[in-house]
Symmetry: C2
């Protein structure tokens, strides 16, 4: 493809600052003959306060026209917990069927980790993105009384599990170590757990070269801090994936460098790329935010659109930049500039 028609959602807090740098690096890395068109969308807290809207059908129709979406961050303390998460972020993931939530973790040279002994970390989590406890199923009765009952229903389908498991096997097959770990809690959540395990074992038959194993989610958190090198590709449900990818980010350099893609591999809808971090309102507007996670999300975006060379160039630039990062703090803008220079040369 020789053009990219990108929807840009800066969002709240530091979202605008990091997205600006992401776009700067994107422009710098693209060959001259690739036409980049961007359109900004004003979603998030401001729009919600002004109109009460989070994401309308018309918004979805507009976003649908793009090749991909780059998102900064959504969320603000002025909005009640859940409103923007359920009304925007999750609504978009579900509407565009982003069933592969891709979250790579690599501890790059020169990057600080809370773990002793600077272990080797290079794995990717394939988190299911459209099912599990994220569906919004459930409800409340007798709200606010001493007899209140609130339920949350985790919904898991063979269709939904199989497609993400297949995606993970294909990714594992394409990596040098060819290892795939299923993370669940099949000894307690036996209904969903058996579905995941059965499908995982079935698909494994088709990938004899991929080594597989299984970990309960609680045990997986132990290995993420005691032996993260054991992981290559992990496939897991929506909620477990949410939890372990924050931990994975923490041990492999922090959420300042953790990228993610909300991918619809079929291409039926545009995929969305975003840093794992939130809107960090406490440091917004001060030029303190690290745009690296957003820049790495741009690399995932480029790879998804077929620009493998450019994606790799960004990742190499980030690795080189981090390796040479001194102790003098740089502004958001300075980091973005440095990365733009590196990818252009």
């Amino acid at each position: 493809s020789h053009s990219i028609n990108l929807a840009v959602i800066p969002g709240d807090g530091i979202g605008q600052e990091v997205v600006t740098q992401g776009l700067k690096v994107l422009s710098a890395v693209l060959p001259q003959d690739v036409k980049l068109e961007t359109k900004e969308y004003d979603f998030g807290a401001r729009r919600y306060h002004a109109t009460g809207e989070t994401l309308t059908d018309a918004d979805l129709d507009a976003l649908k026209q793009h090749d991909a979406i780059l998102l900064g961050a959504i969320g603000d303390p002025s909005v009640p917990s859940g409103v923007l998460e359920r009304g925007f972020l999750l609504k978009l993931r579900f509407a565009f069927d982003h069933h592969v939530n891709l979250r790579p973790s690599r501890l790059l040279p020169g990057v600080a980790t809370p773990l002793a002994g600077q272990p080797e970390i290079d794995f990717v989590v394939v988190r299911e993105g459209t099912e599990g406890p994220y569906t919004g199923n459930g409800g409340v009765i007798r709200k606010g009384t001493e007899h209140e009952v609130a339920t949350e229903v985790s919904v898991n389908t063979a269709f939904g599990v199989e497609r993400v498991v297949r995606d993970a096997f294909a990714r594992a097959q394409a990596r040098p170590r060819k290892k795939l770990t299923l993370v669940h809690k099949n000894n307690v959540l036996t209904f969903a757990g058996h579905l995941w395990t059965d499908i995982f074992n079935k698909v494994a038959q088709e990938y004899p070269e991929v080594t597989t194993d299984y970990l309960h989610v609680d045990a997986a958190t132990i290995f993420l801090v005691t032996d993260p090198a054991r992981f290559d590709v992990i496939v897991t449900d929506n909620l477990f994936g949410d939890i372990i990818t924050d931990l994975a980010a923490a041990v492999s350099g922090g959420i300042g460098v953790a990228a993610s893609g909300n991918i619809n591999p079929s291409g039926a809808y545009p995929s969305m790329f975003e840093p794992v971090h939130g809107s960090a309102p406490d440091i917004a507007g001060q030029g303190k935010a690290d745009p690296t996670a957003t820049v790495l999300s741009v690399a995932l975006l480029l790879r998804h659109l077929g620009f493998e060379t450019e994606a790799a160039r960004i990742e190499e630039a980030v690795a080189a930049d981090l390796a040479e990062r001194g102790t003098t703090p740089r502004t958001t803008d300075e980091i973005g500039d440095a990365l733009a220079v590196r990818v252009a040369s």
Copy 2:
């Protein structure tokens, strides 16, 4: 009370070995005038294979007669995943209404941690034990077909949440730092999340001296590795508690030293104390298992029964033993002997 009538469930794998040491230390620490009676129960894989039973009504009636229960570990690869967990461990927690699942984390001097810089760690997780996604609610339709749907229902009641939140506030109030953190995912699991948050905020009014805060479970895993010293008491739901306590154990010395209590504070049913670790069949019968977690669980048991002095004596003995632990590995028995000698002197 001047007698303890204890049910002992060695269980599977290393269970027998570690329980033997736990009982050794218990006998050594108790004053001569306290009569200790123990009765062993043969639950777990062996019984399941022989009879197909995991925990019958008659078993529950028998266990009910005791003051407390000490459990080693239950689980074996020969039994399908979920059978003993749901059929024994969770059945017992639910039958005896063990709604306070207490899991302290302390990084003791001399103990190895995967975290750099040997941070201060001294917090306790109060995990709800009888609700959430652990109820077994849910089901499967069209099993084994491409149209299978499996659900898991998290059930949360005002009654169940309030009693465990109250227990956690009381524990926070009794500790020097008086800090309580609610861990949930109330931006996504909004039905259950709002119930937890509302009750937490309501009870907080009655504890003006307790400082409170809130973390999403994913963010909590980050802080557990980047700043574990920020935690004093954590209260959380059954599944989140399962996940973060394994991580907490990993950063504060490993599951070899992680103790837990499944407590019914009302005393209507006996409480159960067990190491957080599993049955570790790979090292069973070799004298390699570390009985420390079981011995620390005995301390929790004694504290629960009102033997505060004896509980503290065990904890001091463990701290001293760990501080002096050399690099020469000791057998299960040797560690138990060393601890028994320390508590007796």
